[in-house]
Symmetry: C2
Subunit: 326 residues, 2 copies
């Protein structure tokens, strides 16, 4: 279609699908507002260069020069603008601060990958709350959002992005090994992981732990079993989080000891949202205190974002009975 | 603020304002859905070059090269994508077709103008309906939308973009004069208008007509009075439209004989939405059959778009009692 002005990685949404996406989006926004997370809107176009987030987020592939010679980029998420808003417009407001959004974002795609270049995100950010309370609150709100959206079989997979590096540190591995392991985990490349760890004392045990995924209910038992290898301290943050979750949420939670963040501003708790009817994460989130520090307002920060179109696809999959737990 | 990543002409919307904007947006979308205008979403990024709309819309100042070397632009409206969707995805669907949208668009701004670079539009498009029915239906839906949004004192100002050029043609003016007059009217530059028309036989009468704004209720009488100067034919399209409006809408309608479209795809009916509490148009629309022809599916096309933030500003102005009609 030579007349088409629709680039690869973008698509039109027609009325029947739009009605469903709108119902999901409104349900999410309403739950977040009720929970005290006020919706904000931020510019899609951001100034390039000089941003506090430089080095913590991938460089945007969508860079343009406007009529006045200013270089602009399309935002890749809403977490960075909300960190900016908290540090500037709310500079004198006492935390905790709660924000939500429903917004388009843009990301780099590989040609022919079939990935979406533009996507609609819904999410929430909690800033300046006591860490364990903050993490448990955000996961609890996420659960309410997923229920309200109409998803039945969702699971949240949590991890501690510092766990493996702490284990490697106690094993005496150097920083080069740690960095190579982090890369392998981000790519979920377990062949590379084994190769890197084969030369490290105790590396096989770390590799085994990094592969482990268990139900959160089993964490206490597993932690006792692993205590000799990893020390109770290393698992402490995950134990604290899992202990703070209400029963009905803990039974939906999986612990992935090797879960690694894909974005540089995350550190500590990271999580992904799954549904058995859909083959990849439909949302993600975690702690990003280091982004708030870079923004000039250091505080505990936890947030999540959902890809609204993937949530919709997962609901459709459940309705077709794909991968259902029941 | 060197830490800010917010370029000129963009702004953040914080929760209190966002709640009001969301209520307005939802009310508009719901009225449009009820009226049979199904909401669509289209990519914000469009391929540059080879678009059927080339020459009918301003060149985008937001041009970028993505990682794969493709040149993309940010859309400047939703009318062009909807024309594309109607000509492709709905190629075999019998008209009339009705679409609506709530979407961000981007436009060129002058440095320091205080104008918005990014704006949120809500609008509707009616394709393939009998012309007078189509124009009256779209204006009627627009009226319902404005009421539902919570605006009290709105007015619609209608014009016929072909009127002045038809008058100049009967006066024997050449095309250069017609083009200069069209530019002067688009810029609402009446000094330039008088200068151009001073050298034309009957130019003073045309200039006087182009300046005239009357209540739609007075059109029949005015038309009789103007008949000698302009011929009944020249006013025919406006008389037909005004005759097709229900009373309660006609009393809100103003006829502006010199109203000129700002976008190249409009021809025939053009209109703007005003509120006495706000100094400039909060929305606009008109006939764009020539865009459908360029898209390869020639048919009658009428649509409107509202700037949601300006609608909100006008409502706030009414609440403060500014410029109220009562």
């Amino acid at each position: 279609m030579s007349r088409s002005a629709k680039p690869a990685g973008t698509r039109d949404v027609l009325p029947d699908e739009m009605r469903e996406l709108r119902a999901i989006s409104r349900a999410i926004v309403d739950v977040l507002e009720e929970a005290g997370y006020g919706e904000v809107r931020a510019p899609a176009l951001e100034s390039e260069g000089g941003s506090f987030a430089e080095g913590l987020v991938p460089t945007s592939p969508y860079r343009l020069v406007d009529g006045n010679g200013e270089t602009l980029v399309l935002r890749s998420d809403m977490t960075v603008p909300i960190a900016r808003i908290a540090a500037t417009r709310y500079a004198s407001v006492q935390p905790p601060l709660r924000f939500s959004y429903l917004a388009r974002a843009w990301r780099r795609i590989e040609r022919g990958s079939g990935e979406a270049r533009e996507f609609m995100q819904a999410g929430a950010e909690l800033l300046g709350q006591q860490p364990t309370l903050a993490e448990a609150e955000v996961l609890g709100v996420l659960a309410r959002v997923l229920d309200a959206a109409g998803l039945r079989d969702w699971r949240i997979c949590v991890g501690d992005s510092g766990l493996v590096s702490r284990l490697l540190e106690s094993a005496g591995a150097d920083q080069g090994v740690s960095a190579a392991v982090a890369r392998a985990l981000t790519d979920a490349d377990f062949v590379a992981l084994d190769a890197v760890l084969s030369g490290v004392d105790g590396g096989a045990a770390v590799a085994a732990i990094a592969r482990k995924r268990i139900d959160a209910d089993e964490l206490a038992g597993t932690a006792r079993g692993l205590a000799d290898q990893v020390g109770a301290d290393a698992l402490g943050p995950l134990e604290q989080l899992v202990g703070a979750l209400p029963d009905e949420l803990r039974t939906r939670t999986i612990v992935d000891f090797g879960l690694s963040p894909r974005i540089g501003y995350y550190g500590g708790l990271v999580f992904e949202v799954y549904d058995p009817s859909f083959g990849r994460p439909i949302g993600s989130g975690g702690r990003y205190d280091r982004l708030m520090e870079a923004a000039g307002r250091p505080m505990t920060a936890v947030g999540f974002s959902l890809d609204v179109e993937l949530v919709h696809a997962a609901i459709a999959g459940e309705e077709r009975g794909e991968g259902g737990a029941q």
